[in-house]
């Protein structure tokens, strides 16, 4: 019987097959590190007198906890400063390359890997961050790990893992395209609403179908990024010419004869026709319209044209209680049209939607328009390279002319760890990935949206799609 893409990558990294109940031992090709989930792991190495086994397969950047303004000044919060300085000390001591604040390559770890060409098809990629699933867009097997596992990979360059189950997510439309105004963000929000926040548990998702094949690498990364929001270990897309085109010429991509050898190997990385997935899900992309979340988990989403749901009509008791709690937290009344929901803040950025294509899409909508009175719009590029590219294209001027704030690279308001936070009760339309209670600041309320919806919402002040601006 044939194998799925995920099974092929797994088999290629098998250091040792587990006996009986024992997990397999997998080799890790690329380990991405950042300041928040690594200090205790480096401490563990020191305590045990261990080294980093392969610093040349490890790279660190500062992203979660760095400010996005005044980046030339010392970090004002002493606890944050200590954490960033600890990463610098650890990287120096253990020989791990680091892209610190203000470096041309600094940025969100999941933007940095792909743009350097480090993220390649068929690799195993890990990071102490759940959105590591992003890298699966290249046909890599990429997943988030905890700090103990970070230490394990630093020490051994391997991880003991139970084999994942596989799930196909088939996304098709008649012409292979999405309707105007619909983006890959809407696709993944609709998938999560369909299968639920636990629907992917234990699975690697493989996104397939004519819509996926026609997506750019940036759009594919947005989809794979949010696999974890469906509870999945990883999300993958088979590499194709779009992937190879994106990689060719990047700093760390193979060159010359190595390139040809690599492409030949990468072309083998597809699910065999006779392979069988453990589960399959189908999405009708012709029916998709812009999608937003109304609740406090990413599965609580609906098309923008709908209304806030009525919990009393939800049959399942746990889901009903969850919906009641979500609406109370979000300050929303059942039956309110989603388009009538007024926001205070619009955030464009994050590892989900902080890439150049996302900024172009948002700029395209907001060009020549103004951010509505009483609304604050933050645009935070995913990396310094994205920022430089955007500035070369004049996107920063478009945002600034509209009244938005143009920032330096980092995770920023996605997780409210640095000073970019919502105040209690404030409401945001956010291109990020999580609408959990307090995620963007204590008491803050988050609606997850695409960059197009974010920009249109900034202009109108209520949740909107670009077609509402005409």
């Amino acid at each position: 019987m044939g194998r799925t893409l995920a099974e092929k990558v797994w088999d290629q990294h098998l250091v040792r097959k587990g006996e009986g109940e024992e997990p397999d031992l997998l080799y890790i090709d690329l380990h991405l590190v950042h300041e928040v989930t690594s200090p205790q792991a480096f401490d563990g190495l020191r305590l045990a007198g261990r080294k980093v086994r392969r610093p040349d397969l490890t790279v660190a950047t500062e992203d979660h906890n760095v400010p996005t303004v005044d980046t030339n000044l010392p970090i004002a919060d002493p606890v944050s400063r200590t954490q960033v300085e600890t990463l610098r000390k650890n990287c120096a001591e253990f020989g791990v390359p680091l892209y610190p604040m203000n470096h041309a390559e600094q940025g969100i770890v999941h933007v940095v890997g792909p743009q350097l060409g480090l993220t390649q098809p068929g690799l195993t990629v890990v990071c102490g961050d759940s959105h590591t699933s992003t890298h699966g867009a290249f046909g890599a097997m990429a997943f988030g790990i905890g700090t103990s596992e970070v230490e394990h990979v630093l020490a051994t360059q391997t991880l003991p893992l139970k084999r994942f189950k596989t799930m196909a997510i088939n996304v098709n439309s008649k012409d292979g395209k999405l309707r105007p105004g619909v983006t890959s963000k809407d696709v993944i929000l609709a998938i999560i609403a369909q299968i639920g926040t636990g629907g992917g548990q234990g699975y690697v998702l493989e996104y397939r179908g004519n819509v996926i094949e026609n997506l750019s690498m940036e759009a594919r990364m947005t989809i794979c990024n949010m696999s974890i929001e469906a509870g999945a270990r990883a999300g993958m897309i088979a590499p194709d010419d779009t992937t190879f085109e994106y990689l060719k010429g990047r700093d760390r991509a193979p060159k010359g004869a190595d390139w040809d050898e690599a492409v030949a190997a990468w072309r083998e990385l597809r699910t065999d026709d006779d392979a069988v997935f453990d589960a399959e899900v189908t999405i009708d992309a012709d029916a998709l319209t812009p999608f937003v979340t109304w609740g406090t988990n990413p599965g609580q989403g609906l098309p923008l044209s709908e209304r806030v749901p009525d919990p009393s009509r939800i049959a399942d008791e746990n889901e009903r209680i969850a919906a009641e709690k979500a609406l109370a937290y979000m300050g929303l009344e059942p039956g309110t049209p989603l388009r009538d929901i007024r926001v205070d803040t619009v955030f464009v950025g994050s590892c989900t939607n902080g890439r150049i294509e996302d900024l172009r899409a948002a700029a395209d909508v907001i060009k020549g328009r103004k951010v509505a009175d009483g609304v604050r719009m933050l645009v935070v590029p995913g990396s310094m390279r994205v920022r430089a590219q955007a500035e070369a294209e004049g996107l920063d001027e478009v945002f600034k002319a509209a009244g938005a704030e143009w920032r330096s690279a980092g995770c920023s308001m996605c997780l409210g760890m640095n000073p970019d936070q919502l105040a209690p009760g404030e409401r945001s339309a956010s291109t990020s990935n999580r609408n959990f209670e307090g995620r963007q600041g204590k008491g803050g309320r988050t609606h997850l949206v695409s960059p197009l919806v974010a920009a249109a919402t900034a202009v109108r002040g209520t949740l909107s799609s670009p077609e509402d601006l005409n």
């Binding site: 109940e21 205790q40 979660h64 700090t147 394990h152 193979p254 959990f436 209670e437 995620r439």
Partner: protein, 195 residues
């Protein structure tokens, strides 16, 4: 890691599904570089509300948390496990755990016991009707017992063995150092490096 065999402590009913790791410990508490001292961040937003279960005696002294489905979703932060343990929890019971959370728990010796939802409902009722009820979790027998109620829980055999023995993962892996070196030598030279 300390071996885990049985634990007995006050059960805390948490009637919430999708308790994500941002609820367990918000990001602002993740700035520390130590591995301990995270108890003040545990459920910090909910603990600010007077009627939250952990603000009530005797639940505040609980060590067995009984939660709704999909516990530990979201971020990979192991700080969620550290915060639960620093507060005093030794066991979390749920009908479904997020994968990364379950993995992180196993590394630290926090038992993530998977109990069928109808049994979780029974435990909730019992713990709510009789606050302070002690719950005994037996890892060898894979049972949860409170007063007259005994229900089974699931955990994979490998994790169970590791917890019972208190074994360190890195030490186990390094027993296979030769296999790692052999694999490493066979990797194609074209694969990317960061230096």
């Amino acid at each position: 890691m300390e071996p885990f065999r049985t634990h007995t402590g006050i059960g805390v009913p948490l009637r919430r599904s999708n308790v994500d790791t941002d609820q367990i410990i918000p990001a602002v508490y993740l700035k520390r570089v130590t591995r301990t001292g995270f108890q003040d961040g545990l459920f910090s937003a909910w603990r600010a509300q007077e009627d939250f279960i952990l603000n009530q005696e005797p639940y505040s002294r609980g060590s067995v948390l009984v939660a709704g489905p999909d516990f530990g979703t979201g971020s990979s932060r192991e700080h969620a496990v550290w915060a639960l343990m620093d507060y005093g929890f030794r066991v979390v019971i749920s009908s479904r755990f997020a994968d990364i959370f379950r993995g992180n728990s196993a590394k630290q010796g926090l038992l993530a016991a998977q109990v069928a939802q109808p049994d979780v409902e029974l435990l909730w009722k019992l713990l709510e009707n009789e606050p302070g009820t002690e719950v005994t979790v037996d890892l060898e027998e894979k049972t949860v017992q409170a007063r007259d109620l005994t229900v089974p829980f699931q955990i994979d055999d490998y994790t169970r063995w590791r917890l019972l023995e208190g074994l360190d993962d890195i030490g186990l892996t390094l027993r296979h150092a030769d296999a790692i070196a052999a694999f490493e030598a066979s990797r194609p030279k074209r694969l990317p490096t960061t230096i």
